[in-house]
Symmetry: C2
Subunit: 439 residues, 2 copies
């Protein structure tokens, strides 16, 4: 079972419902939309991500024989069901926000229009993909804004929630404007620039800090970033200052030092002085250790001489808000609108488009959520990316998504770039959607 | 690149350090220990998990040609490094807490003893595996305790952080005592019992709630659990009451109904009355919707007639504490103890064993962390599970881990079974460890 591909990475009910649909010939077209509900003052906007993986997954969606055998043996389905699944493919249409698009609560991020069994079956994995990547791209965008013009890199693999979380977090962070990741697999698979320094264990396994520094520098002469807090930060910085002339003779520059503990602002100041006094003005200071957008913003505001931030656990798990209240809702079946009325969860009916408006300075001024058939003013954001189970064009690139995200973060109203804000972005409903809603 | 296997799912620095180690013949034995630091009053204990996957991963650890080619092409390493990696395997020893063991801050969960390059290289993925599974098993154990004797099932795949997170959360929840999961892949791969109900979209795609219920019941006569809150909970329950006699004639029993929104305790009471009045005393009530250990405990305390809980996002992401402050620390290299002194992060030196003591009632009375060479009293918890890169015995079973966890949760002092507690469990240091620490 290839975990990245298997359609059994789903909730059982998708399969049990599918059996019932097939028994009753309920194979007419269904339209589902995936969106995110409001997430409070610390998430005034979201960055849409995960659509490219969704399309890859949908394109290859099929059951393999061992999976069908498990279904037969499970005792949970009627005879013959596995045989029907054997020929199942995704033949539907997908409309989505391009990756890296800045979006807001209630706005559809992905719409699936397909025969009901297909549109239902893909629910769990589609949400699993889009929810997580949107969660992390959003969190990372906040760090990107907080870091201003300083370098930000992702170090979060070890405490990300499993393999895919680590890999995808690296990609989502890069999309949101990070400069690099430490996760090598993200370099190989997605071309994300990879970077790294050294671990405390590297220092400890040597007889002295200087020996460790020197060996590393000669081994990696183009990327000398030295970790200086294993014993004492200032002492570590002085060792670097002492070692640098010897390295310079060998043609090696110390690109940066890293501080991973203690009062980072205060350490950065004293280290800067030590390095400057030694003529190492070109050597940067990178800090890490439990950072998130709040601590990054505080460090930037402190004026501490910090050139870059390494962030990990808090970003790769989106620790302050570890999941978004996202949903994949049926809005139409067999040409008729459908809407549930469960308490406290009234969602917008209809098949929707988002129309964005800008002010004279090119800043986002407001979105209108309307029905696809309405010819509302504004820039429509959702694009058809799959038709009859096939991509309508080449896959979007990560660099393209990153550029889009960077541009749109720059277009955000200043109030929404704050770390916490009660001021919302104006999202209004079109006349047609309002009419449908009140019906 | 097979994501579950690839050694490139690592931080770049593991590879850059490895190159330096190899250049200097630093291949003597290193000992690293993985442990978790204190996580506050809402995590007075942890449930160790992930060791079995770690052993699987270590056993198969090797570089494949496309990965080596990426390394050659990356420009980050010297010529010939890829060729050295080609023959690299894990040849070390692993000592660990058996999965499902209840443990405490500072206690080693996994120890790796191997030639330095190997022990270093495996750091990132080992942490990625053990940290996450321990995180979720711990969170799930809290739900298991809160639910008392009621059924608890995992519905969290869609908002888990990617594929592996969803799959492993299902396994970790089952290990911690959950009754089942909705995640089908966990049934196929690990034999976790799978279960499910139906989605609101299933109801909505039918012309009436009753039609949806009836079709589902005939399609899945042995597992009829009906979702009754799509329109109105009491109305839904009355539909079930009305439908039940017709189903009974067909030999079909309604096992349970599910309520997924609103005031769950109050809904459960009115639904119970409706069902009882219809003679459906055997039909259970399952509730879901944003549940965690706190809301489960509150519902249990309310005395509401609830038979089972479906939990999802908050458990599969451990939303209140989305990561644990875990570390994989070098304690010995080439026979000499090593320890860093970074501020605020003093860890216990030495190669350690945990010795557990019980009171006369069989409850855990206290642990002593000692050095392996000390013959302390108490039950030693860490076991050698891999020697020279090979498992020392058959893999531990999930059922075995589940039984161990259940037994040990039962042995916890009552104060530690509380949802939040300031009272700690007595973990003391042996004389030998205290001596080493003060040196």
């Amino acid at each position: 079972m290839d975990l990245e591909r298997t359609p059994l990475l789903t909730d059982l009910y998708e399969l049990t419902m599918l059996q019932t649909y097939l028994e009753h010939g309920m194979t007419e077209r269904a339209v589902f939309e995936f969106f995110v509900r409001p997430a409070g003052p610390r998430r005034p906007f979201f960055v849409a991500a995960g659509v490219e993986h969704t399309l890859d997954w949908l394109s290859g969606m099929h059951f393999e024989e061992p999976e069908l055998q498990w279904i037969r043996d499970s005792g949970l389905f009627r005879d013959g069901f596995a045989e029907e699944l054997a020929s199942l493919r995704f033949t539907g249409d997908v409309t989505a926000l391009p990756e890296g698009t800045v979006c807001f609560p209630g706005e559809p991020i992905v719409r699936v229009s397909a025969p009901l069994p297909e549109a239902q079956l893909v629910e769990s994995r589609l949400m699993n993909i889009v929810h997580f990547q949107t969660l992390i791209a959003t969190k990372a965008a906040r760090c990107r804004i907080a870091a201003d013009d300083r370098r930000v890199v992702d170090f979060g693999l070890r405490r990300a929630h499993g393999a895919e979380a680590g890999l995808w977090a690296a990609r989502a962070c890069y999309m949101a404007g990070f400069d690099a990741t430490a996760t090598v697999a993200a370099g190989m698979r997605y071309g994300v620039p990879v970077t790294g320094t050294m671990a405390h264990s590297f220092i400890l396994s040597h007889d002295s800090e200087t020996e460790a520094f020197e060996r590393f520098a000669h081994s990696h002469p183009n990327n000398v970033v030295l970790l200086i807090d294993t014993y004492d930060v200032d002492t570590g910085a002085r060792q670097v200052a002492k070692l640098a002339p010897r390295l310079r003779e060998a043609g090696i520059a110390v690109r940066a030092v890293r501080i991973d503990s203690g009062d980072l602002a205060s350490h950065a100041r004293s280290v800067r002085t030590i390095l400057d006094d030694a003529g190492l003005q070109e050597t940067g200071i990178l800090v890490s250790g439990g950072l998130d957008e709040d601590s990054i913003a505080a460090l930037v505001a402190s004026g501490a001489p910090i050139d870059g931030f390494g962030v990990g656990s808090k970003v790769d798990t989106s620790a302050d808000i570890a999941f978004l209240d996202s949903a994949y809702k049926l809005h139409e079946y067999a040409g008729r609108p459908r809407n549930k009325r469960s308490e406290g969860k009234q969602d917008l009916p209809g098949i929707k488009q988002v129309f964005r408006h800008f002010d004279v300075d090119g800043r986002m001024a407001g979105d209108i959520i309307g029905l696809t058939e309405e010819a509302a003013a504004g820039q429509p954001l959702l694009e058809t990316v799959m038709r009859d189970g096939r991509r309508t064009g080449p896959a979007g690139t990560l660099d393209g998504a990153r550029a889009r995200c960077g541009e749109q973060l720059g277009q955000l109203p200043a109030s929404l770039r704050a770390l916490s804000t009660e001021s919302g972005y104006p999202v209004t409903l079109s006349p047609g959607l309002n009419r449908l809603r009140s019906e």
